[in-house]
Structure formats: C-alpha cells, structure tokens
C-alpha cells in the first residue's frame, strides 16, 4: 500500500473513530448514573445534525450549532423527565424496550419533519474540494475539525468529572447511589443531567461530522450499534478506554475497505461486537472482577 493511501485511510479511520467514541461516551455517561443502555443515543447525533442544518438557514453557522446542541440537550432532558424519571426501579428488559421505543419515535418524527432526503452542513472552513497536506496525503480540513472538536469534548468531560462539583456528584451517584443520596445529592436530577450531557455531546458530534458524512433521519441506529461496540470494547462505563476502542474500530473499518466490499463494512463492527461479547464481555481494558459487580 502506498504511504499516501495509508495515511488517507488512517485519517479517515481516526475521524470515524472519534465519532464512535463520542457516541460510546454518551452511552457510558447514562450507564454510569442509571445502569441502563440508552438505545436512542444515536438519535441524538442525528437530531444535532438535522437541527443545525435547519437553523443554518436562519442564523450563522456557529450560532446554529450552539442552538442545535442546546435544543438537543433540552430534548434529552424532556425525554428523561417524561419517560424514565418516575419509573420505580424498572427492570432491564423494560428499560431496553422503552428506549428502543423512544429511538423509533424520534426517528419517525424526524422522518416526518425533514423527510428522507440526505442533507449536510456546509464545510466549516473552505469547501468540498479544499484539501490540506498531512504527511504527504491530501485530506479535507473538516477532518481536523472533527478530530479537534471530539478531543476537546473528551478532555473537557474528563476535567468536568474530576474537578467540578456537579461532575463529582454524578460520579458519586454512579459509585453508590444510596451513599450519594445520604450525602444530599438528588440522584434523579443527576440522571436527568446525564441525559442532557450525553444528548449534548452527541449533538455536537452530529454537527461536526455532518459536512463529511451527511445526515439523514436513519443514521442513528448504525451509530448506536457502533457506539455500543466501542463502549463494550473499552469496557462499559470507562470513557477513556472508549476513545482508544473507538480509534481501533474506526481504523479497522477504514482499512477493511481495501479488502471487503463497502456493503459489508457495517458487518465488521457487529462481528467484532459479537466476538467481544462472547470472549471478553468486560472489554479489552476492563477487569473481570470489576465487571462481575455490574448487572449485565
């Protein structure tokens, strides 16, 4: 393989890898505070992209993106308050079915609002044919936007969880809900907040990826499956490992194009997911004894 082509594939892989990692972190944030997997996570990414595209006709691009993220966060909070907050210790099966139902509803609403057409935000800098040289290969500057925005999100999130009071309260809830409640933290508010947070990062990822990958109403499910694969690969609940796992999956997928037909690209992620579920359900970086404490 020519070195330029190698770099080209690598950059594409890293770009997608970061997006998967953001979706996976969205899964992790909600899983940590509630113990449930939100099957509607991919829909937040779609909503972010779609809202930004619609708003972009009215206001400048940065404002449109900020508004789209804010609206998606609001939707995330509303969904949690309406459908999840008041349930009294629901079973896992019940939560799976409810969040699947939510993802269908969001997708159908999007279909009726925006139709089936494929849309995209304009490129943040330059246009479709602008390229810059990276190690001898020509790549779109949008790739740098994606990588930059996603790494910034990951960094900010880890600082947020470590140093802010709210972040520490959320971590306390994840570690021991009862003890957190005794310390005066309202765990229900933390759950609502975790939905807002993961809706927000999903929406932002949806905006920065839109110029390259386009946005349509049905992208959510595919992203959710890949994000889940990455979350499992890194060990459920472990956000830093999710970044490493995301990059791994993204790069494997990108290079698979040279040996497999494009139509089977999705099958790779799912095959990896199935293998990892059978062999190491606690993830590549997780520890088995720690996983034993979680409810699968």
């Amino acid at each position: 393989m020519a070195p330029e082509l190698f770099v080209q594939y690598l950059m594409a892989g890293v770009t997608y890898g970061f997006i998967y990692a953001i979706v996976a972190i969205g899964f992790n944030i909600i899983y940590n505070t509630t113990g449930i997997i939100n099957f509607a996570q991919g829909e937040f990414v779609m909503l972010g992209g779609m809202l930004a595209i619609s708003l972009n006709g009215l206001v400048p691009l940065p404002v449109a993106i900020a508004l789209a993220v804010a609206i998606t966060m609001l939707i995330g909070a509303l969904l949690e308050i309406t459908f999840i907050r008041w349930l009294d210790r629901p079973s896992v099966l019940r939560m799976i079915i409810i969040t699947i139902g939510l993802s269908i509803l969001i997708r159908e609403v999007a279909l009726h609002v925006w139709g089936e057409s494929v849309r995209a935000l304009p490129y943040f800098s330059g246009n479709e044919i602008t390229t810059i040289a990276v190690l001898g290969a020509r790549v779109s500057p949008q790739i740098l936007w994606v990588i930059g925005a996603c790494s910034l999100m990951v960094g900010t999130l880890s600082l947020f969880f470590r140093y802010t009071l709210l972040g520490q309260e959320m971590r306390a809830c994840a570690a021991n809900r009862m003890a957190a409640t005794l310390c005066g933290i309202n765990p229900r508010n933390m759950v609502t907040f975790s939905f807002m947070l993961s809706a927000g990062i999903g929406a932002l990822a949806g905006c920065v990826m839109s110029p390259i990958t386009s946005t349509e109403y049905s992208i959510g499910t595919g992203l959710a499956i890949k994000g889940f694969t990455v979350a499992i690969l890194g060990g459920l609940g472990n956000s830093m490992a999710a970044v490493a796992a995301g990059l791994l999956l993204g790069i494997i997928e990108a290079f698979s194009v040279s040996v497999l037909p494009l139509a089977f690209q999705d099958a790779i992620a799912i095959t990896i997911l199935l293998i990892i579920l059978f062999v190491r359900p606690h993830g590549l970086f997780g520890r088995k004894d720690a996983a034993g404490l979680k409810e699968f």
Binding site: I36, I37, F83, W86, L87, D88, P90, S91, V92, L93, R94, I96, I97, I98, I100, G101, L102, S103, I104, L105, R107, E108, V109, H112, T221, I225, F228, I232, P261, A263, F264, D266, A267, I270, T271, L273, L274, L277, F278, P281, E295, F296
Partner: protein, 355 residues
C-alpha cells in the same frame, strides 16, 4: 381439557370469519388474514422465548428472512450451469430438482419447494443453534445488542448479495405444493385454501406450544425466567432449555418466512429489517410477555391493521408509541386479569408507576 377450549374456539372463529367473508363478498380480507397468520407464527415463537424463557431477541426478523430468502433463492435460481456437477446429479436422481420452462422457452432447473423448505428451515435451526450457544450466556443489554447485531448482519447480507437480489429482493417465487391440490401461492383461486393452510399451521403451533408450556419444559422455562440461579440450583439444565427454546422459536420464524414467501411470490430486504424485529417484540410485549394467547390476539389485530394500511405513513411510529406506552403503564401487557387494578393504581398514585 380447559387447555383445548381456546384451540377449539380459535378453530371456530377461523371458520366463521371465512364464511362471513364469503357471504359478504369480501374475500380480499382473507389475503391479509393469511399473511397475518404467518406473522403470528413468528410472534408466538418469540413469545415462548421472551415471555416464558425470559430471553429477549431483537433478531427474529433475521430468522424469518433466512427461511424466506433461502427457500426463494433455491426455488428460483437456475441450476442449469451446474448440471454436470456430481452433487447436483445426485440431487436430481433423488427427485429434489425440477425442470421447467422459463418465459422465453429455455429449460431451467430449480430445487423443488419441499426440498428448499426443508433446507431453509434446517439452516435456520443450525444458525440458531450455533448463535444460541454463545449468545444465550449473555443477559439484558448484552443479549439485546447481540441479537440486534445478528439481525443487522442478516439484513446487510441480504442487501449486498447478488444471489439474494440485493435491494430488489427475489420475485416470481413459485407456489409450494404441500399435497396434490393444496398449494401455497398467491393464486386468487386458491385464496380460501391458503387461508385454511395458514390458520391450520397456527392452530397446530398453538397446540404444540400450549402442550409445551404445561409440560416439564414449560415449568423449567418459567423457573429460568424467575431466577436463573435458583433454577440451576434446583437442577434445571438452564443452558440446554434456553438453547432449545431459542432454536424452536427460530424454526417457527423460518417456517413462517418460507410459507409467506411462497404465498406472496417473493420477498424484499425490508422483511429482514430491524423494524420488523422490533415490531415482533412490541406485539409480544402488548400481549403480555408470558401469554401465548395474548400475543396471538394482539399479533393478529395489529398485523391485520398494519397490512390493511390503517396506520398510513405512521406505521412504524405507531409501533414505537405502543411499545413505550405499554412498557410505561402496563408492563404485564393489556390482556390479563390484573389490568384494571393496575390501571386504577396508576391513577390513584398520581402518576407514580405500578410497582
């Protein structure tokens, strides 16, 4: 004896509905009722798996598609180029192949529907067996995602393989002659007999399943649903029972796929889609999970309305909304004795869900 009463009732309803349709000159309803019956096979199979064994599957459309696609492919793909091959000669001498004339008068060679049906169902059973061994060790989210992943792989394979017609699917699938004079096909003249074939299969399946859930296996399954650890401690071979149930429900889905494909004369990749699997799960949930008759009734009602186009472009949205509402307010389904009390509690507690 009480066990056979619902079966007898179902048989009577099936006959009465057919007679009414005949008299009122509305036999076109029988077409959708036949399709509904085949979908009901998938649903009662899934009900056994979800409600009784407590294992969710978001990939049942995959088994349906394996049955349908394999049968359709084997009965329409021309084997003429391989005629010299020893394997196909052997198949031919066993009477498993049939010579036909295509539209242009050229001679083509297909597998007979009976052989194709058996091959398709056995393949589905084998895949379910191989998939079930590792997958059924998982629980909750992991099981849901693994089965969802399986369903998506089948969908992708159907969509990307030229042999399976890619996005167009397979059409012009011939009829399936069960016995001389009894053919599963979309032929208008055979509409009534097809209606009886389909509902006969539903009756047979319900008989089989209602025997099963009242047997030792059924009690073992319910023990597994209650607590897998406790069941294992009592000496129930949980892994084996779960696997058997999984394979049985996959076989039912595959059989439904084979028959519906021959009845419709073809199928497309949407039959393998995720929404189909979710729809089956939704219907089982509405029926009340561990309630075969509830699942059957809701399956017939909702599938019939959906096939008649009653929900219009909101078809998928309706199923999504039903899922949420049922799981929020009536997690034990709509058709059971405690439903009124449950709903009353709901309002008394001012919006705090049933415990």
């Amino acid at each position: 004896m009480a066990r056979y009463l619902p079966l007898a009732l179902l048989a009577i309803v099936v006959i009465v509905v057919q007679q009414i349709a005949q008299w009122s000159d509305a036999t076109y309803y029988l077409t959708q009722l036949t399709m509904t019956a085949y979908y009901s096979l998938v649903i009662v199979g899934l009900c056994l798996l979800m409600g009784y064994a407590g294992q969710i599957s978001l990939g049942h459309a995959g088994f349906f598609a394996i049955g349908g696609y394999l049968s359709a492919m084997l009965t329409t793909h021309d084997l003429m180029p391989y005629q010299g091959n020893a394997l196909f000669k052997a198949l031919g001498s066993l009477g498993l192949l049939v010579h036909q004339q295509d539209l242009f008068g050229a001679s083509v060679l297909h597998v007979t529907p009976w052989a194709a049906c058996i091959a398709a169902v056995l393949t589905a059973a084998l895949i379910a067996f191989c998939l079930g061994i590792p997958v059924l060790k998982l629980k909750g989210h992991y099981l849901a995602m693994a089965t969802l992943g399986f369903g998506i792989i089948i969908f992708r394979v159907a969509l990307a393989t030229p042999l399976f017609g890619e996005a167009d699917g397979i059409s012009e699938v011939p009829g399936f002659t069960l016995l001389p004079g009894l053919t599963v096909s979309g032929d208008f003249a055979a509409r009534t007999s097809n209606y009886y074939i389909a509902w006969g299969m539903v009756l047979l399946t319900m008989l089989l399943l209602s025997q099963l859930i009242h047997s030792r296996i059924g009690r073992a399954l319910r023990a597994i649903h209650g607590s897998e650890e406790a069941a294992r401690a009592m000496g129930v071979d949980t892994a084996r029972y779960k696997l058997q149930t999984f394979v049985l429900s996959a076989v039912l889905a595959a059989v439904a796929g084979v028959f519906l494909t021959h009845f419709n004369g073809g199928l497309g990749p949407s039959e393998a889609g995720i929404m189909k699997s979710v729809r089956y799960v939704a219907i089982v949930a509405i029926g009340g999970m561990a309630n075969l008759w509830g699942a059957l009734i809701m399956g017939v009602v909702l599938n019939f309305l959906s096939l008649r186009g009653f929900f219009g472009t909101y078809d998928d949205a309706v199923f999504g909304a039903i899922l949420i509402v049922i799981m929020l307010f009536a997690p034990h389904g709509l058709l059971h004795r405690g439903i009124l009390r449950e709903l009353k509690n709901l309002f008394r507690k001012n919006g705090h869900g049933p415990a």
